[in-house]
Symmetry: C2
Subunit: 337 residues, 2 copies
């Protein structure tokens, strides 16, 4: 998949307990403009990494650019859900089912596999119901519903739509290549069975600079990026869920930032008004760390916003006492807010 990475990435995040540092998270970050000009670079930004769910908005581009979304009247909420790692809350599930019904498909057509909801409260609600999880509850079911709407519009069969040689995935790959400028080779398999093509953080960041501005993109893709950004800015709950980082951040930023979490510590952002894109990967894959890294980047790029609760989330005992904090590591002192 990628060349062997023997370099050592800096400590981007520290986890404290009392007065000391208990754990450390290393990683890499690229902040790049539409031409690939480097605004900030830490760690290994030239090593391909599977971008996982951090490129769901790119995976949704053919759905919009092809006219498939408009043909069945997908609204802002549905487009946000097509870009989502949702929490599996009731309104997420209802809308995924509606998207499938719009093209005369159902839960059995989803190839993402069943899973318990990503959201803890939603998972407990499902447990309380006594019903088992289905593919609808899978955090990627909105993306998969988007794939299926696209498959219908392409006039191709829906079977095997997660295979890399299916017309849906060929279109997805072409969009990712067009936006990032990368020419990835072999994909690996994401948790939801869709292909994910390893791409360097540098290329991902440039891609999200373009996603945020449309610069350098064909007209149909440029229009599609704007449509998706507006949809998510209008309906940020549908791209994640109650209390989730992406939803909370974009509720604060509106259309000034488009941020998207991915598994194994990947995170991307588009900053339209700044003409910048962000891509980061925490070496060990920890979600708590990639969120703090993204918050530290956003704090520097949007200094008028108060992002302190996201930059330094507290660690509490089971009785609720603050016993530590997750915080940016010493390397960030070189990049003052």
């Amino acid at each position: 998949m990628e060349p062997r990475d023997d370099s050592v990435s800096p400590v981007l995040v520290e986890v404290t307990r009392g007065d000391g540092v208990e754990s450390r998270h290393r990683g890499s970050v690229a902040v790049v403009d539409v031409d690939g000009g480097v605004h900030l670079s830490l760690g290994s930004v030239d090593v391909p990494v599977p971008p996982r769910s951090a490129v769901k908005a790119l995976q949704a581009l053919p759905l919009v650019a092809s006219g498939a979304a408009d043909a069945v009247g997908l609204d802002d909420r549905a487009l946000a859900l097509a870009c989502a790692s949702h929490s599996g809350e009731a309104d997420h599930l209802t809308l995924v089912a509606d998207m499938l019904a719009a093209v005369a498909l159902g839960v059995d057509d989803l190839a993402c596999g069943p899973s318990w909801p990503l959201g803890e409260a939603a998972a407990r609600d499902l447990a309380r119901s006594g019903r088992p999880p289905t593919p609808l509850h899978n955090t990627c079911s909105g993306k998969h519903a988007g794939f299926l709407v696209l498959a219908r519009a392409l006039g191709t069969g829906t079977a095997g739509y997660t295979e890399p040689d299916h017309p849906v995935q060929i279109a997805v790959r072409a969009a990712i290549e067009a936006v990032t400028g990368a020419a990835p080779t072999e994909p690996v398999v994401d948790g939801c069975s869709a292909p994910t093509w390893p791409i360097t953080l540098g290329d991902l960041a440039r891609g999200f600079a373009r996603f945020g501005t449309g610069a350098g993109l064909p007209a149909d893709l440029a229009t599609a990026t704007e449509r998706l950004r507006q949809a998510v800015a209008a309906e940020p709950w549908f791209v994640a869920g109650t209390g989730r980082f992406c939803t909370e951040i974009m509720t604060l930023t509106g259309s000034r930032a488009f941020v998207k979490f991915g598994a194994e510590g990947v995170f991307t952002a588009a900053m339209p008004e700044l003409g910048l894109g962000v891509a980061l990967k925490v070496e060990d894959g920890a979600t708590r760390a990639c969120e703090v890294v993204m918050a530290a980047v956003l704090e520097r790029l949007l200094p008028d916003l108060d992002l302190a609760p996201f930059v330094r989330p507290a660690i509490r005992s089971r009785r609720g006492a603050v016993v530590g904090v997750v915080r940016p590591g010493p390397v960030w002192a070189d990049f003052p807010t």
Copy 2:
């Protein structure tokens, strides 16, 4: 808490997806004999780390050595539970309640705070019941019940039993010092509100070599270590739970290994027949990594056992396909099995 650690620990664990490495976990390991002779050392073994639940067996020593456990007839299951990070399954909860009842106390006397069960199935069972989590469900409630039994035997009040200056914690600290030879200064606060005193991996490993053999310990502590080891070997389900690493490993090893997980990537083991102790810390705190590191150590120390499923656990898609593996990093090639 600890001196600033600027050294770089080796990659102990790799997480693959397809043919490539997606994530990496760094960390430190010490395998030491009863005199502190180093059998294996990787990374920073001289930096104090909060040992968290990996020293629960040491925290339980005063309960046994004082005679408190025998005074109320605690059996093997109860002693294992006093050393446990249990999953919160029904038989765990019943036994914690029984331990409390034996000294005329109840759930309201537990200072660990409420939490959802650590075990996923147990958490779903509780959600299905519609009842909220209580301190009984806290993975540390067995340890706390042990603290309370000790408090009763000491004739001291139970209020404030998690404060470092309470007689219970003074006794616990003395036992930890006696076994590890460390003289820790200020404790930090564990997730269950008990104090946890930072100790180097080297001292912890030597301590667990002594815990496994009794070598160099006062007679009362040596007897207590043997009693606790035998209890956990006889009842390994009570020290963790269904499908959990510690339970599964000790079901295989019996009394040949005593292994104990701790939060933030800490793990310890005593190897009585080898006269060795093990202590490790994954830099980023990941549970998936510290389990694989412990399995890699055990594979080398107990080569007659088949530990492959623990050394290289599969990563599966939501549809159940194997898409990657968690495995020991390249550094382990220097220490062949």
